[in-house]
Amino acid sequence: MLPIQFRSFLGLTAGVCAALLCSPSLRAGDDPAPALIATINGVVDLSLGLTSSAIQEKLPEIRTRMDESFATSVIVQRAFGRNWQKLTAAQQAEAIDLLGRLIIRTYVLQLSSGERPVITVMASRAIGADRHEIVSTVLHQGETVNVVYRLGRIDGKWKVYDVLAEGISVVGNYRQQFDAHFQKGSVAELIALLKTKLATIPAGKSEGS
């Protein structure tokens, strides 16, 4: 018979091991940070140096790349928040498409000039059973920006459902806008506005700037 202390030690060890194995952040190979950074770097590879006229050609490729780590529909749905139920199924699909394109266009234009951004992961930690947070810095155009990615277990994979840059949440920012819009405006007006936005592509950064 094992001494009582040794049995306790074994029990404690087994408990710790079980906890480690069950912890989403500590399970071997389950840290979503490497996959996320690979996705972002892949998108940077596709985007860097693009002119405004070349953007459209690359969008499908970027979409495919981003879908590996970003939950588009969830981000859009969360951005709408309580207003999501005001949309019909067709309008929801259209909103996901339009808002997604609006954001990707902004993304590509932002990265179409300047040197390659340098992304560094500062921390990667579980914030619950089904959520994870990755804290990173982005060095771009001489400025360092703190970016936090919030990921969730979505369809069995870790995917980003919100991004906070210097404390500014993309989901939160759009939700504020949509809440303001729906105080007076309709779904149809919002979709028309999104289409108008997409129809007017802002000029990329000039060489001199």
Binding site: L59, G128, V160, A165, I168, V170, N173, P202
Partner: protein, 271 residues
């Protein structure tokens, strides 16, 4: 434009957009309720109360016109004449000159360590950095310190924003931060101590124009991405200022804001 508080939040907001580029998704995914129900303001900050929204929107509209008609041509002309590297150096020079504001902000907050670091940064940038044109101290981790200003100091004292304010030409601010910036501009800006008013005006104008190309780019991108640019900017300003105050207080183990209570908790206060 309020170049310190306007350009930075928008630039960083764009990185948020940059970080989530995607296109259309094939359909809605199976998502845990904890994610769908997570309130974004629980992990950022509640918006600053906008008690004079009607007036603010009028000023916002006026500013838009001013930026497009007057500021953009000026910005484009300046960018065409002055290369980016020179603009960076001039920006570093003016940032270094704003040392008194950061110093007083730290002292008002009781952050002696921050005041010492700011002083060290100023001395190194002014000497090794050739009058401040080179931000040498940025490469020294031991001198890294969150930037302070009088608005943040007021926040540490417990003073609330009061109301969100859009200032003519300058842009987004709050009652508290506007007063802080005004006091800084009158008493702590070295340019105000120049004898000749032409020099004073010239210094302020040069600093503003020097930052205008980046500010205009950010402005254009925001208007291209936002459904309601007024609300988008207000939210970005609110969140960014809250983050700055958090950063300012974090190294000293002090906080005035609601601690993070889990992602589905109540909205965090805006300090």
């Amino acid at each position: 434009m309020n170049l310190h508080k306007y350009r930075r939040p928008l630039t960083t907001a764009l990185f948020a957009l940059v970080s989530q580029a995607w296109f259309a998704a094939p359909g809605l995914a199976q998502v845990p309720d904890s994610i769908l129900n997570e309130d974004p303001s629980a992990v950022t900050a509640a918006p600053i109360p906008d008690r004079i929204e009607g007036i603010n929107r009028v000023v916002f509209k006026f500013n838009n016109g001013f930026y497009r008609v007057a500021w953009r041509p000026l910005s484009q002309g300046y960018a065409a004449v002055v290369p980016r590297v020179a603009r960076k150096g001039i920006g570093n020079f003016f940032h270094n000159l704003a040392y008194p504001t950061r110093l007083v902000g730290n002292l008002f907050e009781g952050h002696g360590g921050g005041a010492l670091k700011e002083t060290g940064r100023f001395l190194i940038n002014t000497t090794v950095g050739v009058g401040g044109f080179l931000a040498v101290a940025d490469k020294m981790p031991s001198l890294k310190v969150p930037e302070s200003d009088l608005g943040q100091a007021f926040a540490v004292w417990g003073v609330g924003h009061g109301t969100y304010v859009v200032l003519p030409i300058i842009g987004p601010s709050s009652l508290r931060d506007g007063i802080g910036d005004g006091l800084s501009g009158v008493f702590l800006a070295p340019a105000q101590y120049l004898n000749n008013w032409e020099y004073r005006t010239g210094a302020v104008a040069l600093e503003a124009v020097n930052q205008s190309p980046d500010a205009m780019h950010t402005y254009d991108t925001l208007h291209g991405a936002a459904v309601d640019p007024y609300v988008a900017l207000r939210d970005a300003f609110s969140a960014r200022r809250a983050q700055q105050v958090r950063e300012q207080m974090a190294p000293y183990g002090r906080t005035l804001i609601t601690p993070r209570r889990g992602a589905n908790g109540p909205p965090r206060d805006n300090p």
